[in-house]
Symmetry: C2
Subunit: 276 residues, 2 copies
């Protein structure tokens, strides 16, 4: 097996050198593939899109979890929306104050495949603090008002199963699902290739939450390699970032050296998220 | 013409959708190709490697120029090593205090091709403040001690014509070519795919300069999309960053919002450049 390419909207492509197909199935929601690669470890693809490789998954999973959890004063109950691969849950569990993590993933097969074939990412899903809910997160969030200190929206692209996770109605439900002082983080796509999505998501978020901030990171196997994230809440101050907890959970991307630097945006990203 | 791929060391690939081949030639040093693309504007390739696209060249050119020039107290004489496409010179010229920019490029054909076919990047090379020198920068730097306030090492990969621009002997010559208070910036490759190069270059730099710092940015069409840069000097304080000048030259990447955030490194990058 030689090169496997993900073509992004007829504009660009990312190629990975795959050495073996480990697993393939069609779930009720999407096509799930797992490969071995040269230099990138295991690779998970959903509907032909790279979801993660073992080489760089740490970037995404650390950014979407440690930033909100170190800014929230005392996160105990956490909801992960999507994130069926388990990588975000793995990072959340590194915070000793967290008592409960609910993973609400629409496609149970993604989770089961990752538990079997990508244990370095999914291997913490059997922790007693974790509750697995295989359901539509839109409904789950709507039915759980006032329940979570932090909600991490670890969705796939805003097409297919995740389309409902990028709109104002869902964001309003997220806000209601928070406990006082609660905080939301979400992946919000590439500022180079999905500028309209980035602009639209931040506009919707600002219509719902009193405080909205953007941050970013480098993810080589996602289109453009540059990825944005949103942080939202009604009582949100970046200066609340707890340096002690940040140092304690420091991984390979997020840590004292990065600190709030992930919020120091390139100018064109700042303009996108501020709607200039 | 459909997809054109740059394969990086049998590990990964970047694909761009090219619509037309604009120019191709074999210079004495390398194969030069210019394409039109879908969504990325003009594309320059040297020996099959993406050097720039009009979509994202601003990232590299702003980072390698505005950061050192806004930290130096009064940069008047600037040397660009390599950088035959003219993009770095274009950004340097936006600093009104700069009196002279020498571009020392080994391959005149790169510059002439870019002047003809990529004027958005090379179009400022006829500015009266610019001096074009088509020569080996290793010799040029050695022969110009005490001459420059800032030297920007805008090289290609450390193979082929640019191999000599990544070693301690060259860095020592760079130091001698600086005027008092002088400063050097250099592109130093991808921390994901060229970790050994990054580690090695920073070790060499620390052996030569009293002050060495790393910064980084997102460049979609370079391998991994994540790129490091070095800043070096004997009398170098990041806090000297001049916010007024930074705001005045703010472009699409470097500006007040980014500020010194580009120096807030992901943990794995910090470990690489510090040799942990």
């Amino acid at each position: 097996m030689p090169w496997l390419y993900e073509h992004y909207h007829d504009l660009s492509a990312i190629g990975l050198h795959v050495t073996d197909k480990v697993h393939e199935e069609q779930s009720p929601f999407q096509r799930i593939e797992v490969y071995d690669t040269r230099g990138h470890g295991r690779l998970l693809m959903l509907d032909g899109m790279v979801m993660l490789t073992e080489l760089d998954e740490f970037v995404y999973h650390e950014l979407i979890s440690h930033i909100p959890l170190c800014i929230h004063r005392d996160p105990r109950r956490v909801l992960v929306v999507g994130g069926g691969d388990g990588g975000t849950v793995r990072e959340v569990l590194r915070h000793p104050g967290v008592e409960r993590v609910v993973l609400c993933e629409i496609d149970e097969r993604v989770t089961r495949v990752c538990q079997q074939w990508i244990p370095a990412v999914a291997g913490r899903l059997d922790d007693p603090r974790v509750e697995l809910v295989f359901a539509d997160a839109v409904e789950y969030v709507r039915n759980h008002p006032g329940s979570f200190d932090a909600i991490l929206v670890d969705s796939s692209e805003p097409i297919g199963p995740a389309a409902g996770l990028f709109g104002g109605a869902f964001f309003a439900d997220l806000r209601r699902a928070l406990r006082p002082g609660g905080i939301v983080s979400a992946q919000t796509e590439s500022p180079f290739y999905a500028a309209d999505t980035v602009r639209g998501v931040f506009k919707e978020l600002r219509g719902v939450f009193a405080g909205v901030h953007a941050y970013y990171g480098c993810i080589p196997t996602y289109p453009s390699g540059c990825w944005t994230f949103a942080l939202a809440g009604d009582d949100l101050r970046l200066t609340d970032l707890d340096a002690t907890r940040l140092a304690a959970v420091a991984g390979r991307y997020v840590g004292p050296s990065l600190g709030l630097g992930a919020f120091a945006l390139p100018e064109f990203v700042r303009r996108l998220v501020e709607g200039d």
